[in-house]
C-alpha cells in the first residue's frame, strides 16, 4: 500500500485516496470541429506506461481535494506531487509531460486556451 503525501493533509495510506487515472488530458470543447477519431484520443485513449506516469489522485476519505502525482509504475516511487492545473517541475516528470504523444493531438488543441496553457488538468 502506497504512502501518498496529500498536499493539504500530509502523508497518508493509499486507502484514503482514489486514483483518477492519467493526468493532463485536456478536454476539447463540444464544438464538433474535431473528428470522432481525434475526440476518441480524449475520450478513450489512456496511457499505461512502464515507468514514470503522471496521474491524478484524490484524497477521497480526507480533504477530498484532487492533485497530480508523478509515480513510477515499476517501483511505485512517487517522484513529485503537484497541484491541479499546474505542470510538474522535476526534470523527469517534466520530460514525461513534454514527450507525451498527447501534446500533439487535435483533441488537446481543441481544448480551451486557458486550460491547455495550464497544461490541462482533467
Amino acid at each position: 500500500m502506497l504512502i501518498i503525501t496529500c498536499p493539504f493533509c500530509g502523508p497518508r495510506d493509499e486507502v484514503e485516496f482514489a486514483c483518477g487515472g492519467e493526468a493532463h488530458i485536456a478536454r476539447p470543447l463540444a464544438d464538433h470541429k474535431i473528428s470522432d477519431a481525434d475526440f476518441a484520443d480524449y475520450l478513450f485513449m489512456r496511457d499505461n506506461p512502464k515507468g514514470l506516469f503522471l496521474e491524478r489522485w484524490r484524497h477521497s476519505a480526507g480533504c477530498r481535494r484532487w492533485f497530480n502525482v508523478a509515480r513510477d509504475t515499476v517501483s511505485n516511487e512517487i517522484v513529485e506531487i503537484y497541484p491541479m492545473g499546474s505542470l510538474p517541475v522535476k526534470t523527469a516528470a517534466k520530460t514525461t509531460y513534454k514527450t507525451s504523444w498527447r501534446r500533439d493531438t487535435a483533441a488537446e488543441k481543441a481544448a480551451t486556451p486557458s486550460r491547455s496553457k495550464a497544461g490541462g488538468s482533467k
Binding site: 483518477g20 475526440f39 491524478r56 517501483s75 488538468s121
Partner: protein, 1013 residues
C-alpha cells in the same frame, strides 16, 4: 556429553551437545487420530509424534500415498493436520508448526476410512492414468458433462476439510503499527541486526514465526558463538533486546506479506499454543506495519533430492533431522542413510551417530573432501562417494533403499545396485534462500551458479536481505551482513550507531557449493519406474515435469499451472527450484533462463479470520437507517438493501404475500393516498456565484433561467454521452440549489461534481455539501394527498394555481418546518415533504394520523417501482447500464440543442450514436396478461431460428400492474423504437416461449391527466 573433534582451524573449544529445548518435567497429553500420546512442553506436534514413533501422518493430494514428516518448519509439505473439533476445527495446519498443549486434538487428512487403509490409494496403482494435466485432458469433453465431473473431482481432490460449523467462534484482532525498522526473521542474523539497530535508539520490531527466537540455530548442537554454545548466545541477545524500550519482540508471528512502500502484514498466533484462551486475548492478531526500513532475515529452505520413493514416511530433510535430534531430543530413526550433494548433511550424519543411530552416507559427489568428511570418517561412519539412493521402498515407512554408484553428472547408474535396510533417510539437495518477502516486494533475483540458488538482487524498497535468505549460508558471513544492515538501516532512520563486534563463530569449516544433481537416475525410461516426487504436497513427479516440457509447456508459468507444481499451501518452498531445474534440463536450457514464478503473499497460509478481524457480521459494512426506520419495523415492513441503506420494501398485513401487499399498496397510491419514506434519496446542497452555470454544464438541459422555487428534472451524462444519474433539482435562491440523486448514486454524483469543479472548471465558484442525512423525506402521493396535507396542518395554499406542479414551497406542517416539493414519481398528485432529519418520525406519524380518514397507505420500494413503471419512468441502473444514451431512452426532449457545451454533448454527436441497432427502451405487453416476464429474459424475433439465436436485448423491468389489471414490462431492445407494434418472443429455460407486443412505455395515464389530483 559427546566429545567431538572440532573443525580444523577452529580454536581449542570443543563444540558441546546442547540441551534439547523441551521440558521433560512438563508432560503434555494430546490426541492424534483418536489415540492418546504424550509429549513435552516445547514439542511441536511433529516432534511429539516422532518421539512416539508415529511417522505416517497423512495421505497425499492426488495419489493418496502415505506421507510423513519431512521438514521441521513452515516449509513442511506433507504433514498437514486438521486441528481441533467442531466449530474450532482448522484444516491444513503444518504439524511442524503446531505447539502441543494439554488436550490438543488432531486428525490426519485426506484418508477414507483410516490413515493406514485408504481407499483413495487405488489412485497410486492407477498412476499411469494420472499424468500431468490429467484433468485437463480427460474431462474436457463433452463440455456438458463438466458439471458432473467437477462434482466428483472437487470431492476427490483437495486436502483438509473446513469446520462443519462455519461460524468461527474465535475472536481475531487487527493492529496497526509504525516502526523505524522491521526485522523479519529472528534467527541468528535477524537477532544480530535487530540488536545492532536497536543500540542506536531507533524503534525496532522483530518478528519470528517460531515460538522462540533463534531460527535454525535452535536445532544445531555443534556451533559456538563467542565462547558459548549458540543457545546461550541466543538467550543473551534475546534478553538484551527484551529489555530495550525501543524494541518490540513478536514471537509466533509470521511476516506473510510485503507490500508497497514498506507496508508489511504479519499474523501473530497469540493464543493458539494455549489449552484455553484468556478472555482478554484474541486467537490471532493481524499486524499491519509501516516500516521506514526492512531487514529481511528469512533464512533458507533445504531442498529434497528427487529419487524414487523420496516421499515415504521416514524420508526427511537432513537439516530437519538435526533439529529433531538437537532441539527436541528425538532421533527419528535408528538405521539412517544420509544422501546428499553437499557438505552440510555430514553434520546430520555426525548428530545421528552421536544420537546412537547407525549411519551410512551416500554422497552424490565423487570427490568431496574437507574437515567434515574427515570427522565423519573418524567417527567410523561409512561414506559412499559418488553414490546415490536411487530408490526407497517401504509400506508406511521407509524400510529399504537401493544405493548405486552414479557418474559425475548424476545422470546414469554406473555400477551395481546395493540394497540396504533403513528406517530413516536424511536427504539434502542444498539450500534455497527464502526470497519470498523480497520477491513479493518485486525485488529481482539472480542465479548463483556456485551455490546453485537464486539470491536477492535489486529491490525498489528500502530493505536489506541478510544471512541465509541472501545466500550467505555461512554464519560468520551472515552476522557480518547483519551488523552492516543494522547500522545502515538505523542511520537511514536518522540514528547513529557504532558497529558491534561480530561474534566469533566456531563450527566445522564447510563448503556451501553443492553438486548440481536435480534428478537422480533410477535405471528406468522416463515416465516409468517408481515415482520420484518434486512437489510433495501436490503430488507432482519428476516425470510429470518432463512430460509437461515435452508437451510444449516451456514457460515456467505454464508448467506451474499445468502440473500444479508449487501451487499447494506450501507454495513450493521445497519444490520450486527442483522443478525449475528439471524443466531447464528437459528444455536444454539454463536455470536462470527459465526463470522463476511469481512469489505472492501470504508466505504461509494465513487464517482468513485474522484478516477479517472484527469486520464481520454487523460490523462488516455500515447499515444506514432512515429516521422513520423504527416505525417501519413496528409496522411489519420487510426490508431490502439499497446500497448501504435499509429501505422498507413492502408492508405485509394479515398474512399477505408479497404480491398481495404490493398490489394493495400500488392500488392505494392511485385511489386514495400512499406514503413513501424517500429519505434515502441523495441530496446535495449547491451554492455559489456560478451554481446555475455549473448545473447548466452538468445536466443535459438548460438551468440558467429556472425560476426561484421551481423544480426541474435533470439527466446527467458521463462525457461519453451515457446516462449516469437523474433527479430533480430545485432553485432555492439565486445562487442556491437543492439537488436530488438516485439513492445508490448519491456518493458517486458528489464525487463527479467535485471532480469537474476541481479539475476542469476551477474558475467556477460553487460549494457542494452532501445533505442526504440532514433531511428526512416523506413522499405523499395520490388523489387524497392534498386533503391529508390540509388535515396535517399545512400553513400555505395548496391550490395548483398557488402551488403548481414542479415547484417548491417552504412552510410548516403541524408546526414542523418543511420544504415541500410538488414533484411526482408516480404520476399522481404528489408532495415530497422534507423536514429536518430529527423531525422525520414526527412528520411520518402526523401524516399517518391525518391520513387515516383518507385511506393513507404506507408503501415500500417495490410498490414505488411498480408505480413508476406504470408511468414508464426509468430507473438509472435498472433500465440503464452505462451504455445507454438519452436518445435510447426516448428522452431527446431533455437534451439541449442550443447550449454550447455540457458533459457528454460532443460524444452524443459521435457517428456510433446513430447506429440503428442500438438498444432502445420499449414497453412490452405479454400475450398472457397474468404472466410477468422474468426480468433479464432475452428477446428474439423468431423463436424457431436455429441456435444460437439472435438476441435483441433484455427485459429490464417487469411487474404485475394492479392499476392496469395486467402484467407490464420495459425492455432494452436493438432498434426497439422501430419495432413498435411487433411481437417478440422470450424462450425460457423450461422450454416454454413467452410472447409479447412492443408498445409505448407509458402504460397508465399516458396523457398525465392525474398530476393535479
Amino acid at each position: 556429553m559427546v566429545s567431538r573433534s572440532a573443525a580444523s582451524g577452529s580454536p581449542q573449544t570443543k563444540p558441546q551437545r546442547a540441551v534439547a529445548r523441551i521440558d521433560q518435567n512438563a508432560p503434555v497429553n494430546f490426541t492424534f487420530d483418536g489415540r492418546s500420546y504424550r509429549g513435552f512442553a516445547g514439542d511441536t506436534l511433529a516432534s511429539a509424534l516422532l518421539a512416539n514413533n508415529v511417522h505416517l501422518v497423512g495421505r497425499s493430494f492426488k495419489y493418496h500415498r502415505p506421507r510423513g514428516i519431512m521438514a521441521a518448519g513452515s516449509e513442511e509439505p506433507n504433514a498437514l493436520i486438521r486441528l481441533g473439533k467442531g466449530a474450532y476445527a482448522e484444516p491444513n495446519l503444518r504439524a511442524t508448526q503446531i505447539e502441543i498443549f494439554e488436550g490438543l486434538y488432531a486428525e490426519s487428512q485426506n484418508r477414507t476410512p483410516s490413515l493406514k487403509f485408504d481407499i483413495g490409494a487405488i489412485n497410486s496403482v492407477l498412476d499411469r492414468f494420472f499424468p500431468a494435466g490429467f484433468y485437463y485432458k480427460t474431462f474436457m469433453w463433452p463440455a456438458s458433462m463438466w458439471m458432473r465431473y467437477e462434482h466428483v473431482i472437487r470431492h476427490a481432490a483437495g486436502l483438509g476439510k473446513v469446520a462443519d460449523d462455519h461460524n468461527d467462534p474465535d475472536r481475531y484482532e487487527k493492529t496497526h503499527a509504525h516502526c523505524d525498522i522491521l526485522v523479519a526473521g529472528g534467527g541468528a542474523t535477524g537477532l544480530m541486526a535487530a540488536l545492532q539497530a536497536a543500540k542506536s535508539g531507533t524503534r525496532v520490531i522483530l518478528a519470528d514465526e517460531q515460538n522462540e527466537f533463534g531460527g535454525w540455530l535452535l536445532g544445531e548442537a555443534d556451533i559456538m558463538i563467542g565462547d558459548c554454545p549458540a543457545f546461550n548466545w541466543i538467550s543473551d541477545i534475546v534478553a538484551e533486546l527484551a529489555a530495550m524500550p525501543n524494541v518490540t519482540l513478536l514471537p509466533r508471528t509470521t511476516v506473510f506479506g510485503y507490500l508497497d512502500h514498506n507496508y508489511l502484514t504479519l499474523n501473530e498466533r497469540a493464543t493458539d499454543h494455549l489449552p484455553s484462551r484468556p478472555a482478554h486475548l484474541p486467537r490471532q492478531r493481524l499486524w499491519k506495519i509501516r516500516a521506514k526500513q526492512v531487514i529481511i532475515a528469512q533464512g533458507a529452505h533445504e531442498r529434497p533430492l528427487v529419487f524414487a520413493g523420496n516421499d515415504l514416511p521416514g524420508v526427511m530433510l537432513a537439516g530437519a533431522v538435526r533439529t529433531y535430534i538437537n532441539r527436541y531430543g528425538v532421533c527419528p530413526g535408528q538405521r539412517a542413510i544420509v544422501v546428499c550433494n553437499n557438505d552440510d548433511a555430514y553434520r546430520t550424519a555426525l548428530d545421528l551417530h552421536h544420537a546412537g543411530a547407525h549411519v551410512v552416507v551416500a554422497d552424490l559427489r565423487a570427490k568431496a573432501t574437507g574437515p567434515l568428511m574427515r570427522a565423519v570418517r573418524d567417527a567410523g561412519i561409512e561414506i559412499l562417494q559418488g553414490h546415490a539412493v536411487i530408490a526407497a521402498y517401504g509400506n508406511h515407512r521407509v524400510a529399504r533403499v537401493e544405493i548405486a554408484p552414479v557418474n559425475d553428472a548424476v545422470t546414469e547408474i554406473s555400477g551395481d545396485i546395493d540394497h540396504r535396510d533403513c528406517d530413516l533417510i536424511a536427504m539434502s539437495g542444498g539450500l534455497s534462500p527464502a526470497v519470498h518477502l523480497h520477491s513479493q516486494a518485486r525485488g529481482k533475483l539472480q542465479w548463483d551458479d556456485a551455490k546453485l540458488c537464486f539470491r536477492p538482487s535489486a529491490t525498489h524498497e528500502p530493505s536489506f536481505n541478510i544471512g541465509a535468505c541472501n545466500g550467505s549460508f555461512d554464519l560468520s558471513a551472515g552476522l557480518k551482513e547483519a551488523v552492516r544492515a543494522g547500522t545502515k538501516a538505523a542511520s537511514a532512520t536518522g540514528h547513529k550507531t557504532t558497529a558491534l563486534d561480530t561474534p566469533i563463530v566456531q563450527s566445522h569449516k564447510q563448503s556451501w557449493c553443492p553438486l548440481a544433481a536435480w534428478k537422480i537416475p533410477n535405471g528406468h525410461a522416463a515416465g516409468r519406474g517408481p515415482k520420484a516426487f518434486v512437489d510433495f504436497q501436490n503430488d507432482v513427479t519428476a516425470s510429470d515435469v518432463s512430460l509437461a516440457a515435452r508437451e510444449g509447456y516451456q514457460s515456467v508459468e505454464h508448467l506451474k499451472r499445468y502440473t500444479t507444481t508449487g501451487m499447494g499451501t506450501d507454495q513450493g518452498k521445497t519444490s520450486n527450484i527442483n522443478a525449475l531445474a528439471i524443466l531447464a534440463d528437459a528444455l536444454g536450457n539454463e536455470i536462470p533462463a527459465v526463470g522463476t514464478t511469481t512469489f505472492r503473499m501470504p508466505y504461509t497460509p494465513s487464517n482468513i479470520g485474522a484478516i477479517a478481524g472484527r469486520d464481520i457480521g454487523d460490523l462488516f459494512d455500515p447499515v444506514r437507517l432512515t429516521r422513520m426506520d423504527d416505525w417501519h419495523r413496528a409496522h411489519g415492513a420487510t426490508f431490502e438493501h439499497v446500497g448501504q441503506w435499509m429501505r422498507a420494501w413492502y408492508y405485509p398485513q394479515n398474512g399477505e404475500t408479497m404480491q398481495q401487499a404490493v398490489n394493495r399498496e400500488v392500488k392505494a397510491a392511485r385511489t386514495t393516498a400512499g406514503l413513501l419514506d424517500a429519505s434515502t434519496l441523495g441530496k446535495i446542497d449547491i451554492r455559489g456565484r456560478d451554481a446555475a452555470e455549473f448545473l447548466n454544464r452538468l445536466y443535459t438541459n438548460a438551468w440558467r433561467k429556472l425560476g426561484i422555487g421551481k423544480c426541474r428534472y435533470g439527466l446527467m451524462l458521463k462525457d461519453d454521452g451515457m446516462v449516469m444519474d437523474d433527479g430533480v433539482t430545485t432553485r432555492i435562491g439565486e445562487n442556491h440549489f437543492h439537488m436530488t440523486t438516485t439513492t445508490g448514486g448519491a456518493a458517486g454524483v458528489l464525487d463527479w461534481m467535485e471532480e469537474w469543479l476541481q479539475t476542469e472548471w476551477p474558475d467556477l465558484e460553487v460549494y457542494l455539501t452532501s445533505v442526504t442525512e440532514q433531511w428526512a423525506v416523506a413522499t405523499l402521493s395520490g388523489p387524497n394527498a392534498g386533503k391529508i396535507l390540509q388535515d396535517a396542518g399545512i400553513d400555505f395554499d395548496l391550490s395548483p394555481a398557488e402551488f403548481p406542479f414542479m415547484s417548491m414551497k417552504e412552510g410548516h406542517i403541524g408546526g414542523l418546518a418543511a420544504r415541500i416539493f410538488r414533484i411526482s414519481f408516480t404520476g399522481e398528485l404528489s408532495y415530497e415533504i422534507n423536514v429536518a432529519a430529527r423531525h422525520g418520525l414526527a412528520l411520518w406519524t402526523r401524516l399517518m394520523a391525518a391520513g387515516k380518514a383518507h385511506g393513507i397507505t404506507p408503501y415500500g420500494t417495490e410498490a414505488m417501482h411498480v408505480l413508476r413503471a406504470e408511468k414508464g419512468f426509468i430507473i438509472v441502473g435498472q433500465e440503464t447500464d452505462g451504455s445507454v444514451t438519452p436518445h435510447d431512452l426516448c428522452m431527446n426532449w431533455i437534451v439541449s440543442k442550443t447550449k454550447p457545451d455540457f458533459i457528454g454533448k460532443r460524444a452524443l454527436a459521435r457517428h456510433t450514436m446513430e447506429y440503428d441497432d442500438r438498444k432502445q427502451l420499449v414497453g412490452l405487453l405479454c400475450s398472457d396478461p397474468s404472466t410477468v416476464i422474468p426480468e433479464g429474459a432475452h428477446a428474439v424475433l423468431d423463436p424457431d431460428q436455429p441456435l444460437p439465436m439472435k438476441m435483441l436485448g433484455q427485459v429490464t423491468s417487469s411487474y404485475f400492474s394492479p392499476n392496469c389489471g395486467r402484467s407490464i414490462a420495459m425492455a432494452m431492445l436493438k432498434g426497439g423504437h422501430a419495432l413498435k407494434g411487433q411481437t417478440v418472443f422470450f424462450p425460457m429455460l423450461d422450454g416454454s416461449i413467452l410472447k409479447a407486443e412492443i408498445v409505448d412505455t407509458a402504460f397508465f395515464d399516458p396523457k398525465g391527466a392525474r398530476i393535479n389530483g
